[in-house]
Amino acid sequence: MAMDEIQKTLLEQVADLHGVPEGAYNIRSNGGLAGRNTTANIDIVTKEDKPGIDIIIKPGTKNESVHIPVIISQTGLEDLVYNDFYIGEGADVVIIAGCGIHNGGDKKSQHDGIHTFHIAKNARVKYVEKHYGQGDGNGENVMNPTTIVEIAENGYMEMETVQLKGIDSTERVTNAVLGEGATFIVHEKLMTHGKQHAKTGFTVDLNGDNSSTNVISRSVAKDSSSQLFLAKINGNAKCAGHSECDAIIMDDAKISAIPEITANNLEAALIHEAAIGKIAGEQIIKLMTLGLTESEAEAQIVNGFLK
């Protein structure tokens, strides 16, 4: 597989990869397949009816990982993929997705990924997704990821999403349905700057007894960027749900947080927390008394917050 420097940088940013990864992988570059590897336990199959792949993980697969990065370096490319993950009973795997766009032209580059997770009984998945944009052109970088999650009895999914730079517009949708004893945990980190806009919406249906979810979002909005955070948890059984949005607002940014919790069962215990505020003056003063300038102090506070 031949990659140019731009493609290599993107790959490093979104997947911490310095070349071809270990284990199973599927690299999609400018709308086409750039490399694939399957293992004895993990199969990757190209869909026939629409763009995208099926990732099939055999029951009982342990300590294996799948990398599925997408990189776009061609301006004006609008890419839409459907990726389906079938995680077999009792498996325990890490899936690393991510999309990097380098847009050096004047046209809009867009990647919309629709990821569906079918997590079988007792299976565990850690899903990491990073989004990154760069480019010196005037073309917009747009990413609209959709994640659909179904977790069967005692299944577990932890989702980590990070978008810190260069995406002009994003609309992120995550919908999860949980069965008995299932757990769904989300850690979202988001930073917007310039005139960027980010909308992120989570809906979690806690349908099984003893199911639980924890949706945690930390974000920073700089310059004149805007963010909208929506988190909806429906407690339809004996369950526990918690959502937390913690945001730092800077400059002329705008942030809205709309948490919603609905209990349809007497035994549902649901909590939401949302806080938006600027960096506390005291925090900046403390770091200045350590010898940092005001802007160095601000950068340390933001970095720590999004770490």
């Binding site: 003063i285 403390k286 350590l290 010898g291």
Partner: protein, 231 residues
């Protein structure tokens, strides 16, 4: 002289004339609301005086920023230390030391302030820490800086008795080994006891100043208490 933020005409400090010699240990004491913390903030550059001058090592620093004063060698420990989400104890100590500090060095400092390094080095300086823990981490940042001038605003507040003994050792060590000038705002007799000089501030003015042998007996006599009769 410093104006109150809410009331522009209120004087918090007036006629303050105080000279702190190199390597001296000064304790500032006096009633609550008397202007002690404001004086400490004026030294660190957090509050700006409306009149008067602050000279540090022969240089007029009245207009110098907090950062400039920190870089010149002034350290300031907050009375109520600040919490940071996501910043770990080791990050804060490294920032204080100016990044030249190893993890082992940071651990030694934590031990000095009575915190087991293993349990604290990777903790976040956030709401999960108690007031006393936070206070000791605040003191650790001052040790890490190792500057010639250290200002502490009521370091004993929130620290239990056992730790208090160790805290005294920390100040003595700073004073003896590093030859730092130490300014501590305190109400604690044991801190006043180890000071070279005691300054009493009340009503925004220096009411008394001198050797502990002269000042301490007067202070401990008290003011005769409250005369209000509830009957």
């Amino acid at each position: 002289m410093v104006d109150d933020e809410k009331d522009k005409h209120k004087e918090i400090l007036k006629n303050i004339s105080l000279k702190i010699e190199d390597g001296k240990f000064i304790a500032i004491t006096g009633p609550n609301g008397g202007g002690k913390s404001t004086l400490a903030k004026v030294i660190a550059g957090i509050e700006k005086p409306t009149k008067g001058k602050i000279i540090y090592n022969g240089t007029d620093i009245t207009e110098a920023s907090i950062t400039d004063r920190a870089r010149m060698g002034i350290s300031y420990a907050f009375q109520q230390p600040v919490r940071f989400k996501g910043i770990q104890v080791k990050n804060l100590i490294k920032l204080a030391a100016g990044d030249n500090m190893s993890i082992a060095g940071a651990c030694d400092i934590l031990s000095e302030v009575g915190l087991c390094a293993r349990d604290y080095i990777n903790r976040e300086v956030d709401a999960s820490l108690s007031g006393g823990e936070l206070k000791r981490i605040e003191i650790a940042t001052i040790i890490a800086r190792g500057t010639k001038t250290c200002v502490f605003d009521e370091p004993e507040a929130g620290i239990d008795l056992w730790s208090f003994k160790n805290l005294i050792k920390v100040f003595e060590k700073m004073h003896n080994e590093k030859d730092s000038s130490i300014i501590i705002i305190s109400h604690q007799e044991r801190i006043l006891n180890i000071a070279d000089e005691i300054v009493v501030i009340a009503g925004g003015e220096i009411k008394d100043k001198g050797k502990k042998t002269d000042i301490l007996p007067e202070l401990l006599q008290g003011t005769g208490g409250c005369k209000f009769n509830c009957d």
